[in-house]
Subunit: 263 residues, 2 copies
DNA sequence: CCGGGTTGGTTCAATATTTGAACCTATGGT
DNA sequence: ACCATAGGTTCAAATATTGAACCAACCCGG
């Protein structure tokens, strides 16, 4: 692992629930030497990627991030393109919908919408990275991503988030095979014990998925009929996103065949 | 310069006018070896900070940025706090107003507002970094920043953006001294030949400025009266921002004295 | 006001990582 | 078929990174 990756990992530790991190906490979280971590923090700070609270001495994300995210969104407005589709789908199926983009070996959620219709609704925490092996979005991507990446995930550490998380590589391979057949990944209670979700990969100009679109349903409402009713709108929405990102579904993906659309 | 800084410099090259950069272009821009640059690009890409267009092979900013900027804004909404003040000030003075945050030895603009009132209006390009020595915002920060940073800037390369840019360290020192007296930095035609601007530093919890608030006027309208009329609202707006960011003006800044308010 | 615990930060020799000249490959133009 | 250009790779040499030990400041109970 190179120095750059180590430094970027430090940045990835930030999230909504952990917006400020002290030196000691960093050390605990990444398990590297204090001197090393400190040097990295200082270098990130000098470049505006972090700033330090003068009082608590804790570090938080710096202004460099803001500028670059503005650059990315004005020149390549993925988020803006995805937003209306996610909103609409959420309305249509009456459930929480979120879209995320592949970032290394994890998924980075970039937008979610909650119809706010039922009393019970899935709560979604934007700004936490999602694992590929324990979420339907992850599975949707994993099933069609580069073979070496798939292998890396399957042979790597498979964290169990709930009792139902699949941590056996072979079982996971079977799930991947299913997903490759239908194009739709379905997972229940593997990341959150109360949630069942379905997801479809979305593509950009390349022939590998760049992310996924997912519908999450509280387990109590996850009947086979409800799940079935979601598939049509989900498929159409995923197609929309892929199209507006300038992508197409490659031959190895079921959605490349028009007649395969689930209705 | 450490590896991390080198990699982050690559990211900083992106801007609205340069949203995609190829390997060769990177090499020209940073003047480092192709192999080095490539290794850095790959590492940034593996972490989701860059992505590569499959067709053109050019690199662009990746989704990691989006997530982190969301984290920063939800937990420490600088941009959201600054936005209304910039808008209001722009309305009040009828000119382009922008706020930027110190990022290393440059300023990163984070918001601007244009009243859209006159026919001639300063055009502002968000998402380009601003130099400290050639902009009023920069001067406002430079006058009150850490001595070693000031020294580094003054003794470093002072790029001339126009014929009027101050590139002599001693002249710059005099400008800094002026700014320290009044708290307001004024510069004409030093960065853009058609623009004169005034700026005031803004502070966070620490005792060094974290950025600046600036009003830009087209040279043709920059009469002494107009400039004078701007100072009051600008001072009040800068105070507002500093206050809402949890900061105060330190003793070495003229704005720390309440009676010093320009009216 | 003392002393022990905690957290942030620094040093410097040992060492692993980065570096870059040269090389390879693919693509597009003529 | 050729050359030019751009992206990408290799491996020995050089350099930057590393981490155990150390220092300093702060907090808190006695």
């Amino acid at each position: 692992m190179g120095t750059i990756t180590k430094a970027l990992e430090l940045l990835d530790l930030f999230s909504k629930s952990r917006p400020e991190i002290g030196l000691g906490e960093f050390v605990k979280l990444v398990g590297r030497d204090k001197a090393t971590v400190h040097r990295h923090l200082v270098e990130l700070m000098q470049n505006g990627w972090l700033e330090q609270d003068p009082a608590s001495r804790a570090y938080r994300l710096g202004p460099a991030i803001l500028r670059l995210s503005a650059v990315r969104e004005t020149t390549y407005p993925t988020r803006a393109l995805i937003r209306p589709v996610v909103r609409q789908l959420s309305e249509d199926v009456g459930e929480l919908v979120h879209a995320s983009l592949l970032q290394g070996d994890q998924l980075s959620p970039i937008f979610f919408a909650d119809p706010g219709r039922y009393g019970v609704q899935v709560h979604f925490n934007l700004s936490e990275l999602l694992p590929l092996h324990a979420t339907s979005s992850g599975l949707a991507v994993l099933a069609f991503c580069a073979p070496d990446q798939q292998e890396r995930i399957l042979t790597g550490a498979l964290t169990a988030y709930t009792k139902a998380t699949t941590t056996d590589p072979e079982t996971l391979r079977a799930l991947i095979e299913d997903t490759r057949q239908t194009g739709i990944a379905g997972i229940s209670q593997a990341f959150d014990a109360e949630v069942a979700s379905q997801a479809i990969a979305v593509y950009g100009p390349g022939d590998r998925p760049i992310g996924a679109l997912s519908v999450s349903v509280p387990s109590v409402r996850a009947t086979p009929e409800h799940r079935q009713n979601i598939r049509g709108p989900l498929t159409r929405a995923a197609r929309d996103i892929t199209r507006s990102l300038g992508g197409t579904y490659p031959p190895d993906h079921p959605l490349s065949r028009h007649e395969a659309e689930v209705t």
